[in-house]
């Protein structure tokens, strides 16, 4: 077979690049110079990165995962030299479309994510070839503002950024305002440290987000817009910027779009890193050039927002559903999901899970289905103990509640929140006190400082958690902790303070015994909290390889090089950093 007829498509999102997709692209181009090698956005199948699709001369598609230098040779060997079939890399082939590795994608219902991994995000033509900009065309050719709002209302979609407010109702408020200038803002300031669906959508399918913004802007008469994107997402900023230029060049952005009276000017604002800017009024303050501090509502931004003008802020994922809803009808969207929550929701699945990445499922799917059917269960062999939903504002859901359906009401009942969609999976090696401490530290650092209870309360909570993790707390402290948590929640202006203690309250509710072990037994059951663990060499297994001593950042490890059974750790000098555990080949360092 000659290389000319081969098409090789490599996934090049941020995850792909982190896994080495740039090198893989280069190797394909070097070793098969005649093949057409091109890149697409990330399919959200992060556990299989680097992913490459090969389309042979008969148009048959083969998808391979975990492609590295050797993988490139194997794949080309098979397709060009009739070499052995690279079974170990296979995700799917024409013979095996239902291969186990493909189940991850096959078991999802992709609406918001329908294009990611399918097209080159820098090409407007590829987006248009997949029905791109058809929805805005349909609207401009004959839908009134009220019809657009009604259609989206029928879909029942609620804001996907976390708060879950029905999108169409919000637009209705802004439409009712009489103002020459109105703003439409896309909130791409994905602050939850553990969520990356907005990044994938912005960098992987930017035109879909722009089209969503156009639909929303049209519905309430906005003529100016900003896409507020985190500065930590350089590829998203780049691809979104290219998409704006391409859309402008085709008359899909700017003055008199598609020859109608509808004009919309769009610019990017790079966020500078503040979790609180996920709060609408804080985001507006940030765009205006101030510290991102929330303001009292009302007035709501839909009435008096950016520079005092009516403003709508929608999340990236919400916007990514809109074109599909207009094209297929609100009822088709509402056909997915439950009575309480319509449509689909995207989750960023990560942590100790076999198949991590982006998962889009109909609302009502249970957590267990996501973890087992799509995620493939634990990656460590240890059972999954809990998942964390909703990031620093959310909570943990323990394994016994994994049959909870994913919908707003049911998730809230567990004490967690839907949030923006971060789903972090944890096994027995995660300490719940440490996790609560991690989130409280985050919330404390990110508190804008306006409300006393949030500013100081989060610090006091963190200090109490420190005390617990050091084995210095008493059982009475748990009551104080709970009480203070409730006060912080009720005495803060915005949702940051209003939800900040959730990680503490949910871990206390479901894993109280772990807190008690720290307090009464002075023991960390997961062997994480540094003050309560020790490192010890099981000398019987020690080979004297010296690696642990070299890795140790202090002078805590001594022994005779090349002499078996000779190494030991001096506890008075050990900082419990576990560097030695990482490098020890015979696995003979015991942490307990």
């Amino acid at each position: 077979m000659n290389a000319q007829s081969l098409q090789i498509i490599v996934g090049e999102g941020t995850c792909g690049i982190a896994a080495g997709s740039k090198e893989v692209m280069e190797l394909f181009s070097e070793q098969a110079p005649a093949a057409q090698v091109r890149s697409v956005s990330c399919a959200g199948m992060c556990h299989m990165e680097v992913i490459a699709e090969v389309i042979d001369k008969d148009g048959k598609s083969f998808m391979y995962g975990k492609v590295d230098k050797k993988g490139v040779s194997k794949i080309l060997d098979y397709h060009l030299q009739d070499g052995e079939f690279p079974t170990d890399l296979l995700i799917s082939s024409p013979e095996e479309p239902e291969h186990e590795n493909k189940q991850y994608l096959n078991r999802q219902t992709r609406i918001a994510l329908r294009n990611v991994g399918q097209l080159d995000p820098t090409s407007i033509d590829e987006y248009q070839a997949r029905d791109g900009y058809k929805a805005i065309e349909k609207i401009l050719k004959g839908m009134s503002q009220d019809q657009v709002i009604a259609e989206v209302k029928t879909s029942g979609i609620r804001g996907r950024g976390g708060a879950g407010f029905p999108a169409a109702i919000k637009w209705g408020f802004a439409k009712a305002q009489d103002s020459e200038t109105k703003y439409m803002i896309c909130n791409g300031d994905e602050g939850d440290p553990g969520a990356f669906m907005d990044r994938s959508l912005l960098e992987g399918d930017p035109h879909n987000v722009i089209e969503g913004m156009l639909i929303a802007a049209y519905s309430f008469g906005a003529n100016k817009g900003y896409a507020y994107i985190r500065a930590e997402y350089p590829l998203a900023v780049k691809n979104f910027g290219l998409a704006i230029e391409a859309a402008k060049a085709k008359g899909l952005l700017g003055e008199k779009i598609l020859g109608t009276d509808f004009s919309f000017e769009l610019k990017i604002k790079e966020g500078a890193g503040a979790f609180v800017c996920g709060e609408e009024t804080a985001l507006l303050a940030s765009v205006e050039g101030d510290r991102g501090m929330p303001k009292l509502r009302p007035p709501f931004p839909a009435v008096k927002g950016l520079f005092g003008k009516p403003t709508i802020i929608n999340n990236v994922e919400t916007l990514s559903n809109l074109a599909w809803i207009i094209n297929n009808g609100g009822a088709a969207y509402a056909a997915h999901g439950t009575d309480d929550s319509k449509g689909t929701k995207v989750f960023a699945l990560a942590g100790t899970i076999k198949r991590g990445g982006l998962v889009e499922v109909p609302m009502g799917t249970t957590i267990r289905q996501v973890l087992d059917d799509i995620g493939g269960g634990s990656s460590t062999g240890r059972p999954i103990k809990a998942v964390q939903l909703g990031g620093p504002s959310g909570g943990v859901i323990p394994a016994e509640l994994f049959d909870t359906p994913i919908e707003y009401a049911a998730i809230n009942a567990t004490g967690a929140i839907m949030g923006s969609g971060g789903m972090i999976v944890m096994d027995s090696k995660t300490c719940m006190v440490d996790l609560a401490k991690f989130f409280m530290n985050f919330n404390h650092m990110e508190s804008c400082g306006k409300c006393t209870f949030c500013r100081i309360g989060t610090l006091r909570i963190r200090e109490m958690l420190d005390k617990i993790s050091e084995g210095k707390a008493s059982m009475e402290d748990l009551d104080v902790l709970e009480n203070l948590s409730r006060q912080v929640m009720s005495s803060s202006l915005c949702a940051l303070g209003g939800t900040a203690p959730n990680p503490v309250l949910t871990t206390l509710r479901y894993f109280r015994s772990e807190y008690e072990a720290h307090i009464t037994d002075k023991r960390c059951p997961a062997a994480v909290c540094k003050s309560l663990i020790t490192h010890r060499v099981i000398q019987a297994d020690c080979t004297g390889c010296t690696l642990c001593e070299k890795a140790c950042p202090t002078d805590a490890i001594t022994g005779e090089p090349k002499v078996a059974h000779s190494y030991e750790i001096h506890m008075d000098k050990c900082i419990n950093c576990s560097m030695c555990v990482e490098v020890c080949k015979p696995d003979c360092i015991l942490v307990e």
């Binding site: 941020t14 992060c46 500078a272 101030d290 991102g292 944890m426 008075d572």
Partner: protein, 178 residues
């Protein structure tokens, strides 16, 4: 080499250029600071003074913004920047160990210190780079290194140093007396 010598020489024309391009009204404060930082790697005092002199942005507003957002730093950086991701997934997979191992490798000691004594590398913690399935991970300048651990991060820095002609400081073990 001390941090002192990493201080940037600010070019007033460059700052005026940023102001001409991005505007001088209050809403330009974040973009202006971002432009300065992407050029110098941090916000030199002199650059901020020039912005205050030449725009309607007040000193308190500019400094207030510069200290509010996590992205901005007021201290000089080394020749290369290493970001250590501390998102939730990275935290539960051992991101703290990356700090310990790289601080050891780069001979960075003390609570406040974040730059190798020879000015080669600066370590910063970031909230999340949104690449959670490759946790834990570091970003050396623009390049992401995922699915790593303490030893892996050291190796990545070693390779980066070799490729870019950087000299790594000699790692000194800390003597602990509890």
């Amino acid at each position: 080499m001390s941090n002192q010598s990493l201080e940037a020489q600010v070019d007033p024309n460059l700052i005026s250029g940023f102001i001409a391009e991005l505007g001088g009204e209050a809403s330009a404060s974040v973009p202006l600071l971002q432009a300065v930082q992407s050029h110098y790697g941090y916000l030199p005092r002199k650059a901020m003074d020039l912005i205050i002199e030449q725009t309607e942005i007040s000193g308190s507003q500019l400094y207030g913004v510069a200290t509010f957002y996590a992205q901005f730093r007021l201290k000089p950086v080394g020749r290369n920047l290493i970001k250590i991701c501390h998102g939730t997934a990275c935290h539960v997979t051992g991101a703290d160990r990356l700090n310990t191992s790289l601080k050891f490798q780069l001979n960075i000691h003390g609570e406040e210190a974040d730059t190798a004594p020879n000015g080669s590398y600066t370590l910063v913690d970031v909230a999340c780079v949104g690449c959670c399935s490759q946790a834990p991970l570091i970003v050396i300048n623009e390049a992401m290194i995922g699915n790593t651990n303490g030893a892996g991060a050291q190796k990545a820095v070693r390779m980066h140093a070799r490729k870019n002609g950087e000299e790594l400081p000699k790692a000194e073990k800390q003597s602990i007396n509890k």
